[in-house]
Every structure is written in C-alpha cells, then in structure tokens.
Amino acid sequence: MMGSVTANLPVLIVAVVLIASYLMPLFARYRRDWCAPTAAGALVAAFAGSAALAARAVTGEVVIVHLGGWSPPWGIEVAVDALTAFMLLVLTGVAMLILVYTISDIGHELAARAVGWYYTSFLLLVAAMLGMAMARDLFNLYVFIEVSSIGACALVASRDTEEATEAAFKYLMLAALGSGLVLFSIGLLYQVTGNLNFAFVAEELTLVYGRYPHVIWVAMCFMVVGFAVKAALFPLHVWLPDAHSFAPSPSSAVLSGLVIKIYAYAMLRLLYTVFGTQFLGADLAASLIRVTLLTLATLSIIGGSLFALVQVDVKRMLAYSSVAQIGYVFLGVGLATPSGLAAALIHVLNHALIKACLFLAAGAIIYRTGKRRTVDLAGMGRRMPVTMAAFTIGALAMIGLPLFNGFVSKWLLFVGGMQARQPVVAGVIILSALLNALYYLPIIWRAYFTPGPEQEESQVEVPLPMLIPIGVLALACILFGVWPAPALALVNQAVATLVPW
C-alpha cells in the first residue's frame, strides 16, 4: 500500500488538489464552513508530498509515473526531476500561505455565494499549475495550460465589479490567443516528429532538423510568443495590469507570484529539453530567438519599471513591477548559461515570495483602511506596524539589497551576464535596481516619516490569520537572502539535469 503511494506520489499531489476543488461547490451549498479547512488541508498535503519528492529529486533521482501503466510513446508520462520538484515546492508552499490569508480576507471582498466558487477556481488553478510542472507530454501540457487560464480568469472575474469583469475578458481573450499559438506549435512538432512525449520529440527533432529546419523554427517562434503572451513579457503584457490590480488581493498574489512564472517555466522546459540543441545551437535562427528573448526581457525590465513609476494605485504599481520582474526570468532563459539559468529559476522562487508578500500586505492595508493610492499610505507604519514592516522587507528585497533574497537572483544574473559576455545585461540589472528603488522607497518613506491625518492615529492591524502568512512570507524573503543554500542545491541540480554543459 505504502509502496504504491510513493510510486504514484506525483499524480496523487495533483489529484488531491483537483478532488478538493470539485468538492468545494458541494460544500459551499450544504456545509459552508467545511470549504476553508478542506482547501487548506489539500494544499498542506500537496506541500508535504512535494517536499517528499524534492528530498528524492535533490539527489538526482527522477520519479517517473506512466499513467495507466502504458509506457511512452503510447501512454502519458509524468515525471518529477529536480526542476519539477523545485516548481512544485514553490507552487504549493506559496499557494498554501496565500490560501490561509484568503480564508479571512475573501468574505470581505466577494459576495457570500461566490466564496465557495472562489475556492473551486483557486484549487483548480493550483492543480493545473502542478500538472503543468510535471507534464512530460505536449498535449497533456496544453490541457493543463487551458485549465489554468480558465482558473486564472475565474479568479479575476470572481470579484463582481465592472472593472474586474472587463479585465477578465481581456485576459481570457489574450490567454486564448496564447494557447492557440502554443497548440499550433504542438501541431507542427507532432507533424515533423510523430510524437508527443518530450523525450521522444527531442530525440526525433535532432534527426529531422536537417530536413525540416523551417518548420522547427516556426514551431519554436510560436511557442516563445505564445508563452510570452501568457507570462506578460513587455509588449505583450497589456492584459496584466488590469487583471492583477482589479482582482481580489489573494488572486493578485497568486496571479503575479505563481501563474506568470509557471508559463515561463513551461517555456524554459520546452526550449531546453524538447528543442535543446535547436535552441542552444549556433545557427542564425537559434541565435536570433535568443537575442529576441534577451531584447524583450530587457524592454520588460525597463518598461515595466517605468510604467510602475507613474502609477498612483499601489496594486497597479505592483502589477507593473511584475512585468519588470518576469523580465529577469526571461533574461536568464535567453542568456543560456548555467548561472543565467540558475538565476532565472531562483528568481521564480524569490519573486513568488516577494510579490505574494507585497500583494498580501497591500491587500491587508486595503482590508483595514480601504486606501489604494500610494500617497494615502502616510503614517501607515504606525497604524499597521507588522503589515508595513513586511511590505518594507518585500520592497527592499525587490530592490535587491544584500541580505534579502532579491539580491541572490540579481547577483547570479549579473554573473550569468558576464559569463555570456553580455555586459549590457549587467548594466540593465543595476539600472533596474535603481528604478525599483525609485518607486518603492517613497512609499516606505511616507509610511514611516510622514505623519498621517490627525484623526487616524489608532492601530488597526489585521487579524492574526492574515498576519501570519504575510509574516512568514517576509521572513522567508530574509531567510533565502542569508541562507539560499537549500534552494540553490535544488536549482543547481535542476540546471545540471536540464543541459549537460
């Protein structure tokens, strides 16, 4: 019994979250107060399972499950290597903390009848992301991509306001276009290789590359553009600011912290393990795609920060900051060096922690005071000391000060840029740290050193169940800043398995 559980652990992780998601509407109808504990329990179980898998993956072991006992190329393969285990840990860990916050916050933001459905979409989205992380089959990946886009749009639309509905519509249209591009690319790959399993496609691609180079380049371009739309890379980010700022705060934290990262992960996985030599090769098309990725990532970092600079709404500013931060991940992917790749992956973790912390802290301020504009946050350091301390830690980590986790990823990216002989990349990183400081520091200054309105002197800290996730995320930002070794061990193992450098 125990043996079959450990053998099928990857599938069970997804199944537990998925089943909990399907139970939610039933509970919402008949047992309203069962919703939150069940959802939390499912995510805790998924986190424990991911931790067990990560402990095995860090040694280089790969857990492979063939669904229904059919081995590939006929059956669907699911596998957990170091990279997947890393993503599973980030996804379940951060989602679990956000869910704890959601339990207290969501009744405040949504109509009572929508709360049960909110948990449904939340868990559906998490399950789909977990599935994407472990998928080893192109079409399986596509199905999880579509489930996650619908789940993400539902999280935005759950807030029944005019702006949120419009933002969700825009998001859904562009997400569907992105999936259309990805599916077309899968079609092209299936046509030239006759396989859907990652390993078989990769093997076949090296054989047929000489015969159909153009088809494979087109497939690669469609894949990159499709995922860039869904991960909100700069010129394709138009849906993100509305969707992330009008959604309820826990949704914003999930969407900014996790959802855009999982698409970046999927692109990274396909480019490195499926395309492999076609992406890393020295011929013109491969280098063009890498240069395009680097250019878009740089534009994303600079453009996202410049847009964030002029925002008055704090959640909108955080949303534009996400556009800038996803640029770091794409920059690491485009550099195609070991430390560039390690930086991209470690930034997935670091930004998930930082942005979730910032969005939840901003949500807590809105929960208590209803203040969304950055200029209104004066005196907040005294009124909500814990929340504001967490916001400050998040902001400093985002700027990339040493001792905070943002520094680790920026440092690795800097080294990666130097290794790839791209000093421009190093310059961009320094410039972006300055830009980040320009829009985060004034908020902190105002919160602590500008006195607020006279009549608002009393402390209005949020309830403990909301403070705990914010505090844990903030502490994790510091922990991974001073002691990044455990995360780096997993990341280095992942980089070593991705490409035999």
């Binding site: 005019e162 249209m173 259309g180």
Partner: protein, 121 residues
C-alpha cells in the same frame, strides 16, 4: 512548388484561417466578434491537426487481425476531441463575461466601454 502547396491545401486553409481569426480578435471592436475570432483560431488549429493525421486513401483505424490496411492516424482526431471541449468551455466563459459587460455598460464595444469607464471615474 505551387503544385505542392495545392496538393496540401488543408494546411494552407488552416494557416489562412488562423491569420483571419488572429486579426479578428485583435482588430474587431465588438466583444462577440472577438469571441468568434478566438473560435476561428481554434478551428484552424483543429483543421491543421486533423489534416496532419489524414490519409486520402486511408481506412478507418479499426485493425482486424490478418488484414493489412493503411489506416488514418486516429491520434490527432482524438486530441482534437479534447481541443474542442476546451474551446467550447473557453467560449462559454467568454460569452458569460460578455453578457455581464453588456449588463454593466449597455454596449459591446470595448472602446466605448473604456470611454464610459473614464467618464464614471
């Protein structure tokens, strides 16, 4: 060259449809037309997949022991069955949102909606 393109006309049609759908989503200023555009993009992809599995002289993929036959590849068709389900659910969700937006603003024109939004603020 031209003959080769004509012989593979389903792919050509798929690519043209894909472009038409893409254009419709991005350029049309009516939410329902945008949803139709998404459907055209998805149908183009379905056509592409099914054409890649088709054989003009192929038999249905039911293999009897002892009878040799070149049959149509059933896998792309099976995949597209899932694709159609996904497409229907995305369409349903988008239409539901469009209905809500019409209820809020009384129009389906995104430019007009943006105008009304700035007006109300």
């Amino acid at each position: 060259m031209l003959l080769r393109v004509l012989a593979n006309y389903p792919y050509l049609v798929a690519v043209v449809l894909f472009a038409i759908g893409f254009y419709t989503v991005l350029a049309r200023s009516n939410l329902i037309k945008k949803i139709i555009g998404i459907n055209i993009v998805q149908s183009a992809t379905f056509l592409f997949f099914i054409a890649s599995g088709n054989l003009r002289s192929g038999t249905p993929p039911i293999v009897e022991p002892g009878v040799a036959a070149t049959y149509v590849n059933p896998l792309p068709t099976a995949l597209m069955l899932t694709g159609i389900v996904v497409s229907v659910s995305v369409t349903a969700f988008a239409l539901a949102l469009a209905v809500k937006l019409y209820g809020y603003y009384g129009t389906l024109d995104p430019d007009r909606i943006a105008q009304l939004r700035t007006h109300r603020q």
